[in-house]
């Protein structure tokens, strides 16, 4: 409570009430554009650029083109904090980040503090990939919007679709990375056990992207007797795990969250066949025009985190349509309020913002890796085929108790 009193004191003392801003709306992408996570960061940036180009082609906003500025956070929260300040200096109105929950946590705090200190000159953080629960829990705030799923949404969708397909089994092994996202996944898997009719036979949390050889974990999966492995692992941690499982000839089905990361399918090879992923979108789930348009512009099918990013900017564009600042100063709070009311029709279903915690209520698509796919991944013949779409109402979970959002007056 003390914290809040102190923050209130700061905000009243804040001297900078300068409401005048540059006319064009500025979007700042603070992503990992160098370092180990470059590959993910680059995809978010491409997708944002694609969507903003669309809005600009339709006339932009406030009489100007929307500007996009890229900032390289060098893969760390420290770099992000630094670039956030640069973004403030450049007059950015909306910040976008997705590659990491840790960086997302940093940016949402930075935005909160900035808005406290600069009333009338606020910023919005559109989170397109940070899925840690705390971002809409402990750290939830009015100016943060999460345009992606979270662990329970992905897990519940996986469980229901895999159960329907008869691929779930009764013995599930949970293996996740030992940080906020992985821990969220593990607890989501454990709490889905009862409804899914399975038993979590073993659960393990391991170091993030440090393990070279997953064969020991496969030995552990084997000795647990599990038939299904559920994991929120991404990047190398997923790839190595699947490869090691395939090499050991272990017959388990994977339920994953990030199997469609570029390079995964090619690297895993035949091993990847038959495994599941729960995601925000799949090219085989919606109507094809979205994927075709994206391919026409960028030369590739939308994949991995690109669709969710495009939907987020699409929703933003929709919010902007209803606003008119007459070429004058941009009022970010009004944009945020408008965004709360947007229903964005994505190719797989509507996406709305839940006002209590700014988590989006959105459909979750479950797909399976198949041969001779319609949209082949990584120049292989394999690709994803959707097996089910869980609607937003079914996928969503209650607002977390820890979220106490302060709305603007």
């Amino acid at each position: 409570m003390n914290k809040f009193a102190a923050l209130a004191a700061v905000s009243t003392l804040a001297f900078c009430a300068n409401a005048a801003q540059a006319d064009p709306l500025k979007i700042g992408i603070i992503e990992s554009l160098s370092g180990a996570q470059t590959s993910s960061g680059r995809l978010y940036a491409t997708a944002v650029q694609y969507s903003v180009d669309k809005i600009n082609a339709a006339g932009g906003f406030n009489g100007e083109d929307i500007q996009v500025v890229e900032y390289d956070n060098a893969g760390g929260a420290t770099g992000a904090a630094d670039k956030f300040k640069q973004a403030v200096a450049d007059g950015v109105d909306i910040v976008i980040q997705g590659a990491s929950s840790a960086i997302g946590g940093q940016i949402t705090e930075d935005v909160r503090k900035h808005n406290l200190r600069n009333p009338g000159n606020e910023m919005i953080f559109i989170n397109v990939g940070g899925e840690a629960m705390e971002l809409t829990g402990d750290k939830c705030q009015f100016y943060h919007f999460r345009y992606t799923t979270t662990a329970p949404m992905r897990v519940n969708a996986l469980v229901s679709a895999m159960k329907e397909a008869g691929d779930l089994g009764t013995k599930v092994f949970s293996i996740n990375q030992n940080y906020s996202w992985g821990q969220d996944m593990q607890s989501a898997i454990e709490s889905a056990a009862q409804d899914g009719g399975f038993e979590v036979v073993d659960a393990v949390l391991h170091d993030v992207n440090k393990i070279q050889d997953f064969a020991p974990f496969v030995a552990r999966i084997k000795s647990s007797g599990a038939t299904t492995v559920m994991t929120g692992n991404w990047s190398n941690d997923l790839l190595l795990l699947m490869k090691a499982t395939g090499d050991a000839g272990l017959d388990v089905t994977f339920g994953t969250a990030y199997l469609d990361q570029p390079g995964n399918i090619a690297n895993a090879g035949e091993t990847a066949l038959g495994h599941y992923i729960a995601n925000n979108y799949d090219n085989t789930a919606g109507d094809a025009s979205f994927a075709e348009d994206y391919k026409a512009v960028t030369g590739q099918n939308p994949i991995f985190v690109e669709p969710q990013t495009i939907f987020a900017i699409g929703a933003l564009g929709q919010a902007l349509e209803g606003l008119d600042f007459g070429g004058g100063a941009v009022d970010v709070t009004k944009i945020a309020l408008a965004l709360e009311d947007v229903t964005y029709e994505s190719p797989v279903g509507p996406i709305t913002v839940r006002k209590e915690d700014h988590q989006t209520i959105r459909p979750v698509v479950v797909s399976k890796v198949v041969k001779d796919a319609k949209y082949p991944a990584d120049d292989t013949s394999m690709g994803f085929q959707s097996v089910g779409v869980v609607s937003g109402e079914d996928a969503i979970y209650p607002v977390q108790d820890s979220c106490q959002m302060k709305r603007p007056n």
């Binding site: 102190a6 700061v10 001297f15 403030v88 840790a102 940093q106 440090k210």
Partner: protein
């Protein structure tokens, strides 16, 4: 005379640092805060590596500890502890000192390469362990806090943070500089140059090295604290090898043998990152290239080169040198442009966007835009440009190099040659 000149120079720099920032944009104010922090970090690191000749590859450990300690104190202040905000870096200093004493006790049992490896092991130990200690280090997302107002100062704006940082950095630099003038500071240099003799003189070399290590860690902790105050956050990545590497790079590019050398390195690298990192994706490549070139051609660093010239300010035949120097600069510029041209061309041609265009063009090699011009990968001009640039530049450099060397030779060498590496004797390997 020289010291008078230095004093005036420093007063001028300080005056600029005090007066100019309010007139700068937010971006530059931020950059200045980062430069100040990096400078202090590099100076503190150099106390150990340059002055005592103990090359540490794990200084991120003390930087991170300083940051976390400060954040915990900030959290306590948020909860009502009446601790004045401007004194927060004391927490970082204390944390750095304590951790530095412990790590220093063990590290300095070894010397040379083995010392470097112990420090590396400590930092990696912290880096791999801290994300698991949720309570203290906040897991992967780390911990964050907010600067609280104190005595009417809000510490909300970058400018306020800047002046706070400036104050602490200047104070620390003053203390570090004064340290070199104390008998213990002299002992530090003696340990570097001849540890055995120090021992024969009756000093306990291990204790001395441990104390030096701890002092270095303490000021590193202050730098970490200042970063924590500026960013209001810290996570375990602060213990990463990148942070340790960066300070090594900065210090040695700037020059480890000169007191202000590390500052030169810190300023140039931080500025480089500020100006270039959003301009090109290959900025880390350029940074590595610059580092290797400095190691090869100016082993004493930029600071060493500057000092070399300052020392000969009066004796040198500047009019005679001006022409070859200008030619050398031109040569370097030409070769540099060729390298940048080639790097950026490769980045484009091997980039994802181009591979898409290539696929769409069905067999032909489509053109691309770079530096505001259009190029075609099959046109000879595209490849002739860097070839000519590099060729002319290389010839120029090669020719001029001999002339410059001959001119300096003719003037005689200054009293102490700055290219002498201090730690040559120390890092022969072998754990004493």
């Amino acid at each position: 005379m020289a010291s008078m000149r230095n004093l005036i120079l420093m007063a001028a720099v300080l005056a600029v640092l005090l007066i100019v920032p309010p007139f700068l944009g937010l971006g530059w104010q931020n950059a200045l805060v980062n430069i100040l922090i990096a400078s202090l970090f590099a100076l503190a690191f150099n106390l150990l590596s340059g002055q005592a000749g103990l090359l540490s590859f794990g200084h991120a450990a003390y930087f991170g500890m300083g940051a976390f300690a400060t954040l915990h104190l900030m959290l306590a202040v948020e909860d009502g502890l009446g601790f004045p905000t401007p004194l927060l870096p004391l927490a970082g200093a204390l944390a750095g000192l304590v951790v530095g004493l412990v790590a220093g006790y063990f590290s300095t049992m070894r010397s040379g390469v083995y010392f470097a490896l112990v420090t590396l092991a400590f930092a990696e130990l912290f880096h791999s362990l801290t994300p698991h200690l949720q309570g203290l280090f906040g897991g992967e997302s780390g911990i964050s806090s907010m600067r609280m107002p104190w005595q009417g100062i809000i510490f909300g704006s970058v400018l306020e943070v800047y002046y706070l940082t400036l104050g602490w950095v200047m104070l620390s630099i003053l203390v570090l500089w004064a340290y070199t003038r104390t008998p213990f500071g002299r002992l530090t240099l003696a340990i570097r140059d001849n540890e055995q003799r120090v021992r024969f003189l009756g000093y306990n070399a291990h204790t001395a090295k441990m104390v030096i290590f701890a002092i270095s860690a303490m000021f590193t902790g202050v730098a970490g604290a200042l970063q924590a105050i500026s960013n209001e956050t810290a996570n375990y990545a602060l213990f990463g090898s990148q942070i340790s590497a960066q300070v090594v790079l900065q210090t040695f590019v700037g020059g480890a043998t000169i007191f202000f050398g590390p500052v030169v390195g810190a300023v140039s690298f931080t500025l480089f990152a500020y100006l270039v990192s959003d301009l090109t994706r290959s900025w880390l490549f350029y940074q590595g290239l610059i580092f290797v070139l400095v190691m090869l051609y100016a082993p004493a660093g930029i600071g060493g080169v500057v000092q070399h010239h300052m020392r000969s300010l009066r004796r040198a035949d500047w009019t005679g040198l001006a022409k070859p120097y200008a030619l050398a600069a031109l040569g370097a510029l030409l070769v540099g442009s060729a390298v940048i041209y080639l790097t950026e061309t490769v980045a484009v041609l091997f980039g994802e966007e181009y591979s898409v265009n290539l696929r769409n063009a069905a067999g032909a090699y489509p053109g691309y835009h770079l530096f505001g011009l259009s190029w075609s990968p099959v046109s000879p001009l595209t490849w002739l440009v860097p070839l000519v640039l590099a060729g002319v530049g290389a010839v120029l450099l090669f020719k001029v190099r001999g002339t410059i060397a001959a001119k300096w030779e003719a003037m005689g060498r200054p009293e102490t040659e700055s290219t002498k590496a201090p730690d040559a004797a120390k890092l022969k390997g072998g754990a004493a």
